[in-house]
C-alpha cells in the first residue's frame, strides 16, 4: 500500500487547496495564512503556542495551513473549538494542551488502556486516536465524573473496594466501568472481565478492580456483602 516517495513533494505544495477539494471542508479553504493565524489566536492561544513549538525539520514545508485543523468538541460537557495538529493524538491534546492529566500516557500503542476516554460514551484508547477525529464528539475523562465534588457511583465503588494501588490504571478502568454501568445492560462476571480486559494494572490489583466493577455495574453502589441479595447463577462477590 505504502509508497515511500512523493511525500516531500506533497509537503511542499503550497496552501491547502488539495485538502479542501477532497474533504469539502470549506473552513480549511478559507484558512489563508493571515486569516488562519488570527483565527487561531482568537480561538485558542494554546494553538498558536503549539505551532511555534511544532516539530519541524528545516524546509519540510510544515506550515500552520497544512498541519492545523479546527475542531469543535465537548470535553466533560464543555464545548471547545480549537486548532489541533493533524499529527497529534487525542491523548496529547487532552493531557498537554487542555490539562486533563487524568488521561494517562502508558504504552502509546493501545495495549494498556491507561489513556482510555469515552468518545460518545464508548471507551477508546486516546493514544491511538487522532485528535482530528474528535471533531463533533463528546469526550469524557475521569475529571468529568464527579459532580460538585461528589464522586460518581463508579468512583465510589472503586474507593469502597480499595480498587486502587498506584492509581495509574484507575482513570481508564473507572471510565470503562462507567460505560458498562451506564449501558443499563446486564453483565456476568466473565463478561465484566472481558469488558475490562483492555486495561493493565501492573500492581496486579485485579481482584478488587473486578469487585468494584461488579458492584458498580450490578448494584449501582448497592453492597452485596451486607445483605442477602444474590443473583441467580452467580457467586456472591
Amino acid at each position: 500500500m505504502r509508497e515511500g516517495k512523493g511525500i516531500s513533494e506533497a509537503m511542499r505544495m503550497p496552501g491547502v487547496k488539495g485538502l479542501s477539494e477532497a474533504e469539502g471542508l470549506s473552513e480549511a479553504e478559507g484558512m489563508s495564512e493571515a486569516e488562519g493565524m488570527s483565527e487561531v489566536k482568537g480561538i485558542s492561544e494554546v494553538g498558536v503556542m503549539r505551532m511555534s513549538e511544532v516539530k519541524r525539520k528545516p524546509g519540510d514545508g510544515t506550515t500552520p495551513e497544512n498541519v492545523l485543523r479546527k475542531i469543535s468538541f465537548t470535553v466533560n460537557g464543555k464545548a471547545l473549538t480549537l486548532y489541533v495538529d493533524i499529527r497529534e493524538s487525542l491523548l496529547e491534546v487532552l493531557r498537554e494542551r487542555l490539562g486533563f492529566t487524568g488521561v494517562k500516557k502508558g504504552c502509546g500503542v493501545g495495549e494498556c488502556g491507561a489513556c482510555t476516554v469515552l468518545v460518545d460514551g464508548t471507551p477508546i484508547d486516546s493514544c491511538i486516536y487522532l485528535a482530528v477525529w474528535a471533531d463533533g464528539r463528546e469526550i469524557r475523562t475521569v475529571e468529568g465524573l464527579a459532580v460538585d465534588g461528589q464522586l460518581s457511583p463508579v468512583q465510589e465503588a472503586f474507593v469502597e473496594e480499595g480498587a486502587i494501588q498506584c492509581g495509574f490504571c484507575t482513570p481508564g478502568l473507572v471510565l470503562s466501568t462507567t460505560a458498562l454501568a451506564e449501558s443499563g445492560k446486564e453483565y456476568s462476571r466473565e463478561e465484566i472481565k472481558r469488558e475490562l480486559s483492555g486495561h493493565f494494572c501492573r500492581c496486579t490489583g485485579y481482584q478488587n478492580i473486578l469487585k468494584a466493577a461488579e458492584r458498580a455495574v450490578h448494584e449501582g453502589g448497592h453492597r452485596c456483602a451486607h445483605c442477602e441479595h444474590e443473583r441467580e447463577g452467580e457467586k456472591r462477590i
Binding site: R2, I7, E23, G24, T116, Y129, V132, E195
Partner: protein, 294 residues
C-alpha cells in the same frame, strides 16, 4: 506526535475513489488500530493519510431478504460482536470478533481494515475464509468482486490495487444457513494478544454425527490465512469418530506452511493444528446438537 505529512478526509465514496485515483500514495486509514501503531513504531513515516472513517456508505451491515449478509468495511468488531442477527445466525463470526484485541480496540477497529492489512493473524480471517466471503472492491474505474480466498497474496500483501477501496464483504446465505461453526484462537492471553494459531471450522451435521460441507480455515499456519482442502475433502460424509477427527486434524497439517517465529516453532504450530482442528469440529458439532464425541 505521529509522523504524518498530510491528512485528508473522504466526504463521499465517489469523492474518495476520485481522491485515491489521484493520490495513489495515500495511506487509507479507518479505525487506525494498525496504521497508527505502525506510525508509532516508525514503520510508517511521513505518511499521507486518507481517512475514510466518515463514509456513511461503508458503515453498517445489511441482510437482504434471501439472507445474503453484506458487511460494511467500516463495521467495528464491537458492532459485529453486538449484532443480534449475526449472534443468531453466524455466531462463529461473533466469536471471532470478540477474540480480537480488547474492548477499546474492538470499539474502533474495523473489519475492512483487518482484511486489508492482510495480517496472517487477523482474527476475522479464518472465519470469513470458512464462510467463503466475497469482497467488493471499488475504484474510480469500476467494481470487482474477489473471493477472500484469492485476496491474500502473501504476508501483509493483499490484492488491493492502487486506487481501490474495499466497499463490502458479502456472505451468501448458502454459506452459513444450516452450518455450525467454532473459532479457536490459541494465544498466550485471553485478551490483547495476537493469535499463535487461529482455527475456524464450519460444518453441517446429519444424523447427529455425519459431517457435511466441512470447511477448515487457519490463521498463522502459512504466510496467509488458508483453507485445508485435503482435510475438507476427506471429511465429507464421514461419521465423526475420534479416529476420523484425528485424521482430519492430521490432514489439515498438510495444507500448512507454518514457520518458526518468536511466538511458536513450526513444530508446535503443526501440533496445534492437529490438535485444535478436531476440537473445533467437536465444538461445531455440539453447537449443531450432535454428539461431537471424540
Amino acid at each position: 506526535m505521529f509522523n504524518i505529512s498530510k491528512y485528508d478526509e473522504a466526504g463521499s465514496l465517489d469523492g474518495a475513489l476520485e481522491f485515491l485515483s489521484e493520490h495513489p500514495a495515500a495511506k487509507v486509514i479507518a479505525g487506525g488500530t494498525d496504521v497508527v501503531i505502525k506510525m508509532q513504531g516508525g514503520k510508517l513515516r511521513e505518511v499521507e493519510l486518507f481517512s475514510i472513517r466518515g463514509l456513511a456508505e461503508l458503515k453498517g451491515s445489511k441482510c437482504s431478504p434471501d439472507g445474503a449478509v453484506l458487511l460494511g468495511p467500516l463495521v467495528t468488531f464491537s458492532q459485529i460482536a453486538g449484532d443480534p442477527f449475526l449472534q443468531d445466525n453466524i455466531p462463529v463470526l461473533t466469536q471471532a470478533a470478540l477474540s480480537m484485541g480488547g474492548p477499546q480496540i474492538r470499539n474502533i477497529a474495523t473489519i475492512g481494515g483487518n482484511i486489508c492489512n492482510g495480517a496472517v493473524s487477523a482474527d476475522s480471517a479464518p472465519t470469513l475464509l470458512a464462510l467463503n466471503a466475497e469482497l467488493r472492491l471499488q475504484s474510480a474505474r469500476g467494481e470487482r468482486k474477489v473471493p477472500l480466498r484469492e485476496f491474500y497474496l502473501g504476508p501483509g500483501k493483499v490484492d488491493l490495487r492502487p486506487g481501490e477501496l474495499l466497499t463490502g464483504i458479502m456472505v451468501r446465505p448458502e454459506e452459513y444457513l444450516g452450518y455450525h461453526g467454532h473459532y479457536i484462537k490459541f494465544a498466550m492471553r485471553k485478551a490483547m494478544d495476537i493469535a499463535t494459531l487461529g482455527v475456524s471450522v464450519l460444518c453441517r451435521v446429519e444424523e447427529g454425527k455425519v459431517l457435511r460441507g466441512v470447511r477448515i480455515a487457519l490463521g498463522v499456519a502459512a504466510p496467509t490465512p488458508i483453507r485445508c482442502p485435503e482435510a475438507e475433502a476427506f471429511a465429507e460424509g464421514k461419521t465423526a469418530s475420534a479416529e476420523t477427527l484425528r485424521e482430519i486434524g492430521r490432514l489439515a497439517v498438510r495444507s500448512t506452511k507454518a514457520r518458526t517465529s518468536w511466538r511458536a516453532s513450526q513444530e508446535y504450530r503443526e501440533h496445534l493444528v492437529a490438535e485444535l482442528v478436531p476440537r473445533a469440529l467437536q465444538e461445531a458439532m455440539r453447537a449443531a446438537g450432535g454428539e461431537g464425541n471424540a
